[in-house]
Symmetry: C2
Subunit: 277 residues, 2 copies
């Protein structure tokens, strides 16, 4: 692991690091905030997964999570959203496929399968790197994210319910396998058999019996992707059928931007901190 | 005035606007955050002046001021740091002169004088635009800034003490006319006669009898520009001689970045809110 930068902030340290990923077969960059409490004892770990077109940097710069993480004693890890590098397959005509659009799945199809192994990267390889290099209590983990990263957080929590104490999402893509902006990537990464897509879709995972203790979802009412891409009511419906408690809050006037994310960051970190105690 | 973008955030609206500036003879862009309280009554106005290389956008994205401004009912205006456009003189070899480096003075020398009129722009023209278009209480104004913008805030407050209820600065350039990284710009913009520079330097303004009720200064102890460029102890000394109360806080381990600025944003906005009551 190589340190790219470390800056003191809100009493803790915001760092950026890179390492050579085996899963993705390329160098990967990620951000970690370590709060002041970590000087005395290992701290709980909160994963934040970012949305389409983002790297680790967007939420690090605009997410406004450090004040709360420093107050609550949380380590925040912000991974990248896809493999990177000149050798990595890409679709430069689409921001919904290729670099910046890993969708947190392990691709099985050429040319994507060589590098696009984001599910394994986020659930296996990066946790090992974090556990080795940072003062984390790996028994206390939570996960949340925005948009494509909300999809990532929901599906990863549902598939690894024993690992995470809590899960929440901001404007998540809750049913990507039927949404126009995500369906093409699922087909490209996972192949034509739609049955294989169901294991990476929050709504179908629940339909197929995956469970999680509870979800908190915030969704901007003025979000331009609401009706076609996000559709949080589908998750609400699936959760109600399955008996999973879900708090879905429609936030009037808010769009899909980091101005929305930063506005509700505090509520989400407090939600996780309560469940990590 | 043209609206470029408006996003709901923390219950208020973060806007970006442009207008044709007479003072700078070019189009200028600025950011305004209007808190929810403005729906009921005009709100106090806090000016934030940015540092070298910045535009209105840096602090808007990374400064973390909206949560507090929404809590305290403050309108925050973030102007650009220099005139802009292809027709505007520049020094592309130096980030300490030309675009992004207006130093909040009115240039008298060619080729700078045609556009570099940032003192008039910030103290006269932009306040008129703000008063006309936003629900501000112009009798309640405060000013602060970072680095070159800290210099701007201190000098503008000292030269207009009756207008501002409070002033503070983060890592300000307190004595630019003798600091290596700012001296060249003063010479270029204001000419060779160093006596004319004294009216735009916090330390010499105080020496020449300008006064202000009190200053709050935060300075990172690990700031790479501390000893050569910033030297806040010179302002402390000048204030002590003049009987101006100054709180200078050295913040151990903090550098010159927005990670530092955002860490102490809350303290500064609370300082201003108290004095704007």
């Amino acid at each position: 692991m190589k340190m790219i930068s470390e800056n003191k902030s809100h009493g803790g340290v915001q760092g950026v690091y890179s390492h050579t990923s085996k899963a993705c077969a390329c160098d990967m960059t990620f951000a970690v905030f370590v709060p002041p409490q970590a000087a005395k004892a290992p701290c709980p770990l909160v994963w934040y997964l970012s949305g389409l077109t983002c790297t680790h940097a967007n939420v690090m710069e605009k997410g406004e999570y450090r004040r709360l993480a420093a107050e609550l004693g949380l380590i925040i890890v912000c991974p990248d959203t896809s493999p990177r590098g000149d050798q990595v397959a890409d679709d430069t005509d689409s921001w919904q496929m290729g670099k910046g659009a890993g969708f947190y799945v392990d691709a099985t199809e050429e040319p994507w399968s060589e590098h696009y192994q984001m599910y394994s990267y986020i659930t296996e390889e990066l946790p090992s790197v974090i556990a080795e290099h940072f003062p984390v209590d790996m028994k206390k983990q939570a996960i949340f994210g925005h948009s494509m990263g909300g999809h990532g957080a929901l599906t990863i929590a549902l598939k690894n319910a024993q690992r995470f104490k809590s899960c929440s999402a901001l404007a998540p893509i809750v049913h990507p396998i039927t949404a126009d902006w995500s369906k093409a990537a699922f087909q490209a990464y996972l192949g034509a058999d739609e049955n294989r897509w169901r294991a990476h879709d929050a709504c179908t995972l629940i339909e197929d019996s995956a469970r999680f203790p509870a979800f908190l979802i915030d969704q901007g009412g003025a979000d331009g992707f609401l009706d076609d891409g996000l559709r949080p009511w589908l998750l609400e419906e699936a959760c109600k059928k399955a008996g999973i408690p879900i708090t879905l809050r429609m936030q009037e006037g808010y769009d899909h931007s980091y101005y929305f994310i930063s506005s509700f960051m505090e509520d989400h970190l407090r939600w996780h901190a309560e469940r990590l105690r």
